[in-house]
């Protein structure tokens, strides 16, 4: 029996990962969405009709995007403006509302990475976490999504393929974090800033997404995050999100 407070993480195994998103740079090009889906084996829902209500499934809030780009409108023609694109993914809250409500410990906080983990094989699909996420960034596998052969050849072997009935969400590409940490550990060093990044950040042609350790004052992401004009989404709820947005404009 190990007491919770006895556990210490070694330096190379721990880190507080975070993201900075510059909405002024984001062009809404969806490269991050595509990259995320390719990296994380996110299935495509297609335009199948939902038998329950004749709506298109994907139109009925049943998309599976782990990251989505939100935009709203301000004003009316001709003074109409599109609000800055807002890429929305799991904010990896420090105090995540989704975690305590899961009865099966299927979504828990990782001590090592300071991320919200999603443990698919423990998920029984109560979808309480989805309800309790103020950002609505969790998506549910409403069915088993078709991937006709040979499309499964593209699947990333580092990432689980989810089946129907489980929740899923952005993981900050935890498989990449671990790969980089393993490599660094093998070489007896710490993961260098910028050594790796998430799929979305890597693809982003405008460099609007910066990922890294926010507990490392030297890293680009923590320097950006501490510039002062960043905001955290719905911070007033006390969720302590790990994603900082620059509103821009």
């Amino acid at each position: 029996m190990i007491r919770p407070d006895e556990i210490k993480m070694s330096a190379e195994e721990s880190g507080k990962w975070g993201m900075v998103i510059d909405q002024d740079l984001c062009t809404g090009c969806q490269a991050c969405v595509a990259a995320c889906s390719m990296e994380n084996n996110v299935p495509f829902v297609g335009d199948a009709f939902s038998p329950s209500n004749g709506e298109v499934d994907i139109n009925y809030g049943r998309s599976l995007h782990w990251i989505r780009i939100e935009r709203f409108w301000e004003g009316e023609y001709p003074e109409v403006k599109m609000t800055p694109h807002q890429p929305m993914m799991c904010q990896q809250c420090g105090e995540a509302p989704c975690e305590p409500v899961c009865p099966a410990f299927a979504t828990v906080h990782s001590e090592a990475e300071q991320l919200n983990l999603m443990v698919y094989n423990r998920c029984i699909g109560t979808r309480y976490c989805g309800n309790n996420c103020p950002y609505q960034v969790r998506s549910f596998n409403w069915r088993d999504y078709e991937r006709p052969e040979p499309l499964p050849n593209q699947l990333n072997p580092d990432v689980t393929v989810r089946r129907r009935g489980v929740m899923e969400k952005c993981t900050f590409c935890i498989q990449r974090i671990h790969k980089a940490q393993d490599a660094a550990k093998a070489e007896g060093r710490e993961v260098a800033d910028g050594e790796f990044t998430t799929a979305c950040a890597q693809a982003c042609p405008a460099n609007a997404i910066v990922f890294g350790r926010i507990d490392n004052p030297e890293s680009l992401v923590s320097q950006l995050a501490h510039q002062g004009h960043g905001v955290k989404h719905l911070e007033e709820l006390g969720t302590q999100p790990h994603v900082t947005y620059f509103k821009g404009g």
Binding site: I7, E95, P100, T107, V108, S110
Partner: protein, 178 residues
Amino acid sequence: MTESKVVDILAVFADIGPAADALDQLRAMGIHDECMNVISGVPVTEAMLGRPAQHTNVPRIALGGALLGFSAGAFLAFGVPYMYPYPIQVGRQAPISGPPSVIILFELTMLIMLLSTFLGVFLDSMFPNYRPMKYVTEVSDGKIAILIECPHVEEKKLTDALKKMGAESVEPAEAQHL
């Protein structure tokens, strides 16, 4: 010779009054309270019949269950968080937090208390019991039966006395399948 014979008599009364009187008289005849039992279709209290209070373990078993339940709840609330091989954090709540613990303690206390109360009835009444027993079905129609199992008294004398006391019927009690 008759001394050793156990008298087994079932007297059926129509009402509480006569039955209570009969009990008094039987007691006066020297039949000990322990040799008598009253079988009724409604819960007739001991006070109504002037009988000694029945001993029941149900409240004690219930209390024991409550304590057991409380301990089980305490184990779940305070023990389990220490059993994880690694710390499990949810929403930055402490592994052992007050409010959820109260709920767990309450629910488990109640659950096991109720279960053991129920079990207490079984234990105390020796339920289920499908062996042949001394019984008359009129009891469930509202009659009150007095069952006398006494080694000291003569059967004939007792039967007569009971009839005099207003018993509707007095029969030798025989164990039968209910």
